[in-house]
């Protein structure tokens, strides 16, 4: 399986009323009290540590799981830790209708698959996607399906750069490949 094909069990970030949580900012993802941590291996236990209702996420999540969040996920600061903490947990991908611009770049550059899908709001509202479901996403074609439910939806296909960085591992490794090939 190539890195742009992703399969895993989802966690749908819902609030107390059962709606997708929107505008989750980087402080809620990785609180600034732990910003001094620089070793990525130590960051997992703090993922979503400041998000009401989800503070136990690190204990529940397993490597290979996929996070589904509401629009504007990762708003706010430029802190890389808000990406790294999910890498530390071994998440396979994050899906959201939209992301904070800096957060999206940070995730791409670190090699964490992030995918945008407007369709999520509808299928979550209609109860077609709930925590524990297994989904399969092809990041290049943009096709996604929910296992056992005969439900498909679309994600914005990864850009060439995003797929290339993902294939290389991260921005640094991608940069080295470019250098070898004489670009950019």
């Amino acid at each position: 399986m190539s890195k742009t094909e992703i399969e895993g069990r989802v966690w749908v970030l819902l609030d107390g009323r059962g709606a997708l949580i929107e505008d989750i900012d980087t402080d809620q993802i990785f609180h600034n009290a732990y910003l001094h941590l620089t070793d990525i291996k130590q960051m997992g236990p703090y993922a979503l540590g400041n998000l009401e209702g989800w503070k136990d996420f690190p204990a529940k999540a397993k490597p290979g799981d996929i996070l589904v969040a509401g629009r504007n996920f990762g708003a706010g600061s430029s802190r890389q830790q808000a990406v790294d903490c999910f890498m530390a947990l071994g998440l396979a991908a994050i899906l959201a209708p939209s992301f904070g611009a800096i957060y999206f770049r940070n995730a791409v550059n670190s090699g964490l698959p992030v995918l945008r899908s407007r369709a999520l709001e509808g299928i979550v509202r209609e109860g077609k996607l709930v925590s524990g479901d297994k989904i399969k996403v092809d990041g290049l074609s943009g096709r996604a399906e929910i296992a056992g439910r005969a439900v498909t939806f679309e994600v914005v296909p990864m850009s060439r750069v995003q797929a290339d960085i993902l294939a290389a591992g991260n921005l640094f490794l991608f940069g080295r490949m470019l250098q070898k090939s004489g670009r950019p």
């Binding site: 809620q28 600034n32 620089t38 400041n50 430029s78 939209s98 800096i102 991260n170 921005l171 640094f172």
Partner: protein
Amino acid sequence: MGQTILEKIIQAHTADEVRPGAIVWLDLDIRSARDFGGPNVVKHYEREYGGLPPDPQRTFFTFDLCAPACSLKYADNQQLCRNFARKHGLTVFDVDRGVGSHVFIEEGLAVANSTVVGTDSHMNILGAVGSFGQGMGDVDIAFAFRTGRTWFEVPPTVKVVIKWRPGPSATAKDLTLFVLRELGTSALANKAVEFSGPAVRDLTLAGRITLCSMVTEMAGIIGFVPEHGPALQEEVRALSGRPYQPFQADLDAVYDSVIELEASGLGPQIAEPPSPTQVKEVAALKGLPIDSGFIGSCTNGRTEDFVAAARILKGRRVKPGVMLKVVPATRRVYEELLGQGILRALFEAGAIIINPGCGGCAEGHAGLTGKGEVQVSTGNRNFPGKQGQGATYLASPEVVAASSVLGAIAGPEDVP
């Protein structure tokens, strides 16, 4: 096909085709890291590359979040960056200088039509002087230190026309909060914006900084205010020592959408926690007791902001039991305030005068809020936990000053 302002700046910094949605390789004129993010930039850089960053004249550190360091971790982090900078002869705008993005304007480094990146999500404040500033993470910045470029997806541009001429009781901050109330975090998400119309045409540089800084809270990429008169041109030239000749959009530039806002009769505005978009009239919250006030941050830390506060505080007293913290954005602002007697007026009114930087906005050197504390702040964010455990309300310097005198949320006209 015509181009918008951002498209023109990007085009001047890339050989690739520029159109919304395209990904280009963007040349970066200024690359920087601050005391937050900086240590990881250094670690990435040394692990991945090592040696001297190829463009030392265009590579900087700015220490502003915690200045001087008030915790061991910040002290260590700053020293790590300092040592790296010394080793390679890079310039550090150290803990004495103030908010990095503002220092870049004052130093003539962030000029119109330039590209500037740093580990600061409010680097897009530089749109106020026509520069494409962008906050980025530490991986991006370490890559930029080495290569001087990065990949960038050209965002679509939205035009926001604000019809209204500022009356005496509405400030640039009130206008900014009004735009946040109207547009929330959706309309401009991942887009560039050009503000125009009578409400913004006459904004001073400080007012433009206030508006552009909060494009981040609107989830936008960057904001520009292209219309300006000779007064602004002179103001920018006097401050930065560089001429001000920003690109203008082509007449046939293509916009994602044009949004018209009608802001007549706008009065003082205030954003309730937990979100900068939760904006109300100050009158609606009038009388809510406060514990502290804060005037400063990259959003309202210019000389003009403190002069406005001093107009209310001069000859009056901060209500006993309320603490008012004053943090100029930069050393240069501090000096101007000293020269004009503004700091004395604020001091005599009971304010705590703190050295320049971000303190009071982030968890930095101006202290934190405690559980149950109610703070009125001129900053740009009131997310839970950002300045401590208290509740932060966002407003103009005038509203913070008036509220501090009365010990409760109030507008300037409420002060007897």
